[in-house]
Every structure is written in structure tokens, then in C-alpha cells.
């Protein structure tokens, strides 16, 4: 058990992370000041539409960002150690060992010229003193754990001989073979059928319980979040817009975006004439609005929204980036406030580190 686990501190702390992409057409602020944390053994769901920055956040944690992207600010503390200032070698030791990651596309995430067993064994051998024989044994063991039948034979097969669901299981086996403290799962079930999805989630639930493993589950599927997550972080256009306990988020969402997301899910027990949508589209990263990034689509929009809203506490363990009060009404400083007055009010309300 690590020091921070004993002391009760969080496993992973992301503070003010900014990852920008410098392209010919302009700078894309894919992640612009993201702060949240994951406790030991906790499952955090990171929700948002495509392009909101959730994947980039996870890649930043693993320091897998490449040109033209660059992590320009922030801290990422793993058990108290800042990953962003660590040396390349230290980061490589952590990758695949304390923090493992699985990706969205199982079809292309495995190297086609090596067998499944070899690839899992490689991870094991990289981080332990295991021999290749021991590595392969562990690989076969893990394949069994993730529910692949006839594991011994499968270990010597190539990825193209396996189905998508099986490949994803192999990925999970590979990620978990080193007993990581944190598993980052980036849309692990998006590319799979619903039935396979259920199986994969079952595997993940099972394993996190056995190994007391934390999971950062990135997805745009609210159903998956509801099933798996303890806490939820909602992202929009590179920022966190709401964070809270899973029951709170689903039962009592504060941010208009979250509300929009939830109300757009069709329900079987209601008859409606039209499905709910969030009007408008995600703003182009080259043409972001000033102030609140959601304002162009927000049904509650007020003039004060031209000033960047505070990230304020709206309930127990519940924060939201919005001018609305916890009760959902106009802020005390007034819906028409602007300029310095609004900014000062925002600074008073916000709990986000600068």
C-alpha cells in the first residue's frame, strides 16, 4: 500500500492541466485548465462529447502527447509525485506498471506481428524481473482471468485471429498483468457490440474489486458511467464543467450542459413528441466564445455569462462551472453584471486553483 493510500490522500491529482496543439490554422486548447482527482480504488467517469478533451487529458497523464501537441501548464501528481517534471525514464517505469491504459480501438491497438501472449509477456518482463517463460505463464493466467477460453492456445495466436471483443480482453489482460494502481480506460467499449460491452464491463468490475484498482473511465456513454462510476467529471470544450458523486450528477445535475446530456437520453417510460436535443453544436476550437464556453447553446443564458463563470461548489462534493446559484437562480451579483464587478464576484465563488 502506497504512502498516500495510507495517509488517505488521492492516488491521482490533476491540477490546472493545459495541453495545447499548435497547428497551422491556430492553437487548439484541447485541455485548458482541468482539475480533478481520483482516490485509491475509486472509479471516476469522465464524460463528454467527442473533442471535449477527455482523451487528451488521459494521454497527458501518461505523457503520451506528441507534436504538434504540448503540455503547457499544470501538475499531475501520482501518489504525490509530479509526473510532468519526472524524467523520461521515470515516466516509462510508471507506464504499464502503476498506471496502465487501454484504448478505444481494439482492432488496431495490438501489434499484428507478435502473438497476444508475447505482447502481454513483454509488459510483464518490462516491469518485473520475470523471464520470458514466466512472462508467458502470467500472460496465460491473465487471459484466463479476463475470461478468454482456451487461454493457452490463444496466447500463441496473432491478434488478427481474434474477434474485437477478444482483442479488447487481451488489452485488458495486458494492462492488468502488472497489477497497476490506476487503469485508464479510454472508451473501452465504444467500438464493441452492446452484448460484448456488458461482458467487458463485467470483467473490469470484477478485477477492480479483486485488486483494489482505481479506474479513470472515459466515455461519452452515460449508461456505462451510471453502471461503473463512483464519481463523475463532465467535460466540455477542454474544461471541467461539473463534478460530483454519480448519484448526484444523475439525480440532481447542476450545469445546463449536464442537464442537456441527461435529458437527451430517451426514456422508455415516457411518451414524448420530440426527442430532446441540445441546440447548436460544439464550438470550433479555432473560434471559441468569450466567457462561458457553453453560452451559445445554454437555455439559461444571461448577460453575465460573457464573463468566465466560476467553478463553484453547488452541493456536497459537487461543483459546477456556472453562474447559476446552487438553487439554479441568477447569481447574487446580478444576471446583468459585467466587467470587473462580475470578475470579482467570480473570484470569490470559485474553488478552482488558478
Amino acid at each position: 500500500m502506497t504512502a498516500s493510500a495510507r495517509s488517505g490522500g488521492p492516488l491521482l491529482e490533476i491540477k490546472g492541466l493545459k495541453t495545447h496543439f499548435f497547428t497551422q490554422d491556430g492553437t487548439v486548447k484541447a485541455v485548458d485548465g482541468v482539475t480533478f482527482e481520483i482516490g485509491h480504488g475509486q472509479t471516476l467517469g469522465v464524460v463528454g462529447e467527442s473533442g471535449c478533451g477527455k482523451s487528451i487529458t488521459s494521454l497527458s497523464v501518461m505523457r503520451l502527447i506528441e507534436r504538434p501537441g504540448k503540455i503547457v501548464a499544470g501538475e499531475i501528481l501520482l501518489n504525490g509525485d509530479d509526473l510532468l517534471t519526472a524524467s523520461d525514464e521515470e515516466v516509462r517505469e510508471i507506464r504499464g506498471d502503476q498506471v496502465s491504459m487501454i484504448f478505444q480501438e481494439p482492432m488496431t491497438s495490438l501489434n499484428p506481428v507478435f502473438t497476444c501472449g508475447e505482447q502481454i509477456s513483454e509488459a510483464v518482463q518490462q516491469h518485473t524481473s520475470a523471464s520470458s517463460r514466466e512472462g508467458m505463464d502470467r500472460a496465460i493466467e491473465m487471459l484466463g482471468v479476463v475470461g478468454i477460453p482456451d487461454a493457452k492456445r490463444r496466447a500463441h495466436e496473432y491478434p488478427h485471429q481474434l474477434s474485437g471483443g477478444m482483442r479488447q480482453r487481451v488489452m485488458i489482460a495486458m494492462a492488468l498483468s502488472t497489477d497497476p494502481d490506476l487503469l485508464i480506460a479510454d472508451e473501452p467499449t465504444t467500438a464493441l457490440d452492446v452484448t460484448i460491452q456488458a461482458q467487458i464491463l463485467e470483467v473490469m468490475r470484477d478485477l477492480r474489486q479483486k485488486n483494489r484498482m482505481a479506474i479513470m473511465l472515459i466515455t461519452h456513454d452515460l449508461g456505462v458511467v451510471a453502471e461503473m462510476a463512483d464519481e463523475v467529471v463532465v467535460m466540455y470544450s477542454g474544461k471541467v464543467v461539473e463534478r460530483g458523486d454519480v448519484r448526484t450528477i444523475f439525480g440532481n445535475p447542476h450545469h445546463p450542459y449536464t442537464k442537456g446530456l441527461l435529458s437527451s437520453i430517451p426514456r422508455l417510460d415516457e411518451r414524448v413528441e420530440r426527442l430532446e436535443v441540445i441546440k447548436g453544436t460544439v464550438p470550433s476550437p479555432y473560434n471559441l466564445p468569450t466567457g462561458c464556453l457553453f453560452k451559445r447553446r445554454c437555455p439559461y443564458r444571461m448577460p453575465i455569462c460573457d464573463v468566465a463563470p466560476p467553478y463553484q461548489v453547488v452541493g456536497e462534493e459537487h461543483a459546477s462551472r456556472c453562474w447559476l446559484t446552487p438553487a439554479g437562480e441568477a447569481p447574487d451579483v446580478g444576471a446583468d453584471a459585467s466587467g470587473e464587478e462580475a470578475e470579482r464576484a467570480g473570484e470569490l465563488l470559485t474553488v478552482e486553483p488558478r
Binding site: M62, L64, R95, T108, S109, P112, V113, E122, Q126
Partner: protein
């Protein structure tokens, strides 16, 4: 695998047939009498008629073609590919005699190319956008744009005429030194350099391109996420995949092993198949010309087959 090879060979037959047809037509339709050069005042017309009979030139097109093909197929017969008009020797014999020189030249050039181009291309891809990458790409672009005879001429001038380090021409200095490996090597430097520089330019571009493509694949990201060091990622995971198409390039280089050196052989007076072929064209030595066209076709077909087989060997996804 064996059935695949057999199937491919069977499929290759119509192609070779087409090549043979074109080869035959090229010569048959050529203006001028093939035996015209023998027409001196001393030669009696009956002798010419006899020669015409021997070469079968008096029969109709179709018969000649069929006769020619059936002859050619019997490669165990040293006369199967005809007799050279200029050299008065069986064509097959001439080819066998000259082939080693060409193979030596091209084989060495190919080896040098692979040894230099693969690391160069890899380096450029791994360090994309860096100075090294720009240098390699620039060199490759210019080298690729320079025709072989231009490069050969420059090398000949710099290496032989101006500095006098290397010999002008040929494979050996004199009859005395014939067969001496050092002497041959000394003669080989310039032509091999000429051939190698050109193909290194092409190959390194190709290696760089495939390597770049591989480096952007998802499984490379997975490998990094596993905590593997950059050496392992580049050499074991990336290169292994990038080499798949490069290995097939090896097979596809086979045709040029035989035919590609023609111009270089001409510049450096290298006694190989290329210069034999050029000489034959110049002197209207039709049997040799026909044999060469067919030889070229066989080399291409064989090269494609080898490339596909190699591909099946190195890529586990391919099953024949």
C-alpha cells in the same frame, strides 16, 4: 504455400506468352531484312535462301511464332534460344557467360543499398522534422532526380578522369590480372557507387515513408503506454512492421538485377548482360534481342512471385 506458388506460375504463363508475342512481333515487324547484313557481293543468293530456311524466315507469321516458342521452351537444349548472328554462338551460352558479371555488379549494389538505405530511412522517420531528416530527404530527392547516366558520368569523371584513382573501363585491367578479386573490386567501385547512390535515394524514401506510417499506428501508442523504451518501440515494434513492404521491394528489385545495369554497364564498359543487349540492338542481332525481351519478362514475373512469397513469410496476417 506450395499450391500458391504453383497457381501463380500457372497464372504467369499467359503473361509470358504475351511477352513472347511482343518480343516476336518486335523483330518480325521490324523493317529491313534480318539477313541483309550477309548480303555481300561474294555471297550467292542460294546461300541466303538456305540461311532463310534454317532460320525459318520463309514461313508464315503464325508458324514461325509457334516454332520459335516451342524451341524456346526446351531450355535444356543449348541451341533453344537461337544463335547470335554477330557472335555466331548460341544465345544461351552468351547469356550464361555474361550473366555473372552483371549479377556481381547488381548484387553488390543491392547489398550496399539495403545496408545503407534502411538505417537512413529509419533515422529520418524517427527523427522527423529534425535536421537529420531534412538532410536525408533532400539527398534522397536529388539523388532520385538524377538519372543514372548523369550520376555515372560524374562519378566516372571525378573518380577516374580527374583524380585517376579508379579505372576507366571494364572489369579487369589486363588478361594477366583477370579473375583477381582485388582487381575486380577496384574496377567495381565506380559503377557500384553509381548504381547504389541512385537506389539508396529511392529506398530510403520508401523506408522513411513506411516507417512514418507505422509510427503513427495505434499499436505503437500501446507499446509506449506499456512503458517500453524508445529503442524497443522503434526497433522491435515499428521496424518489424515497416520492413514488411520493404522486404517485398527486395523481390521486386530482381528484374533490375538483370536489366537495370544496362546504362551503367555502357558507361563503365562493364562486360555484362546489359552491354550485350545494347550491342545486339545496335547490330540487329535479332536472336539476342528476342531472348533479352523474354528474359526481362521472366525476371519480372519471378521477381513478383518472390516478392509475394517473402510478403507471406514476414507478415503473419497473410495465409497462402
Amino acid at each position: 504455400m506450395l499450391t500458391y506458388i504453383i497457381r501463380r506460375i500457372i497464372l504467369a504463363i499467359p503473361i509470358l506468352f504475351g511477352v513472347a508475342l511482343i518480343s516476336f512481333l518486335l523483330v518480325y515487324l521490324a523493317p529491313g531484312d534480318p539477313l541483309g547484313r550477309f548480303l555481300t557481293p561474294n555471297v550467292r543468293p542460294e546461300v541466303l535462301e538456305r540461311l532463310r530456311e534454317i532460320y525459318g524466315l520463309d514461313k508464315p507469321l503464325f508458324e514461325q511464332f509457334v516454332g520459335w516458342i516451342s524451341h524456346y521452351v526446351q531450355v535444356w537444349d543449348p541451341l533453344a534460344w537461337g544463335i547470335s548472328i554477330t557472335h555466331r554462338r548460341p544465345v544461351l551460352e552468351l547469356i550464361m557467360e555474361r550473366a555473372p558479371a552483371t549479377l556481381l555488379l547488381m548484387g553488390t549494389a543491392l547489398a550496399v543499398t539495403v545496408v545503407v538505405a534502411v538505417p537512413l530511412g529509419m533515422l529520418a522517420a524517427i527523427k522527423q522534422y529534425s535536421v537529420a531528416d531534412k538532410v536525408v530527404t533532400t539527398f534522397a530527392t536529388i539523388g532520385y532526380a538524377m538519372p543514372s547516366f548523369v550520376l555515372g558520368t560524374y562519378l566516372l569523371y571525378i573518380g577516374a578522369v580527374w583524380t585517376g584513382i579508379f579505372p576507366f573501363r571494364g572489369m579487369t585491367s589486363s588478361l594477366r590480372t583477370a579473375g583477381d578479386p582485388l582487381d575486380i573490386a577496384w574496377h567495381m567501385v565506380l559503377p557500384v557507387a553509381s548504381l547504389a547512390i541512385q537506389s539508396i535515394a529511392g529506398w530510403s524514401r520508401y523506408v522513411r515513408a513506411t516507417m512514418l506510417e507505422v509510427l503513427h499506428q495505434d499499436y505503437i501508442r500501446t507499446a509506449k503506454a506499456k512503458g517500453l523504451g524508445s529503442n524497443r518501440v522503434n526497433f522491435r515494434h515499428a521496424l518489424r512492421n515497416a520492413l514488411i513492404p520493404v522486404v517485398t521491394l527486395l523481390g521486386l528489385s530482381l528484374p533490375s538485377l538483370i536489366a537495370g545495369a544496362a546504362i551503367t554497364e555502357a558507361i563503365f564498359s562493364w562486360p555484362g548482360l546489359g552491354s550485350l543487349g545494347l550491342q545486339a540492338v545496335g547490330e540487329r542481332d535479332y536472336p539476342v534481342v528476342m531472348a533479352f525481351v523474354l528474359l526481362g519478362g521472366i525476371a519480372v514475373v519471378l521477381g513478383n512471385l518472390i516478392a509475394d512469397i517473402l510478403y507471406g513469410v514476414v507478415d503473419p496476417r497473410i495465409k497462402y
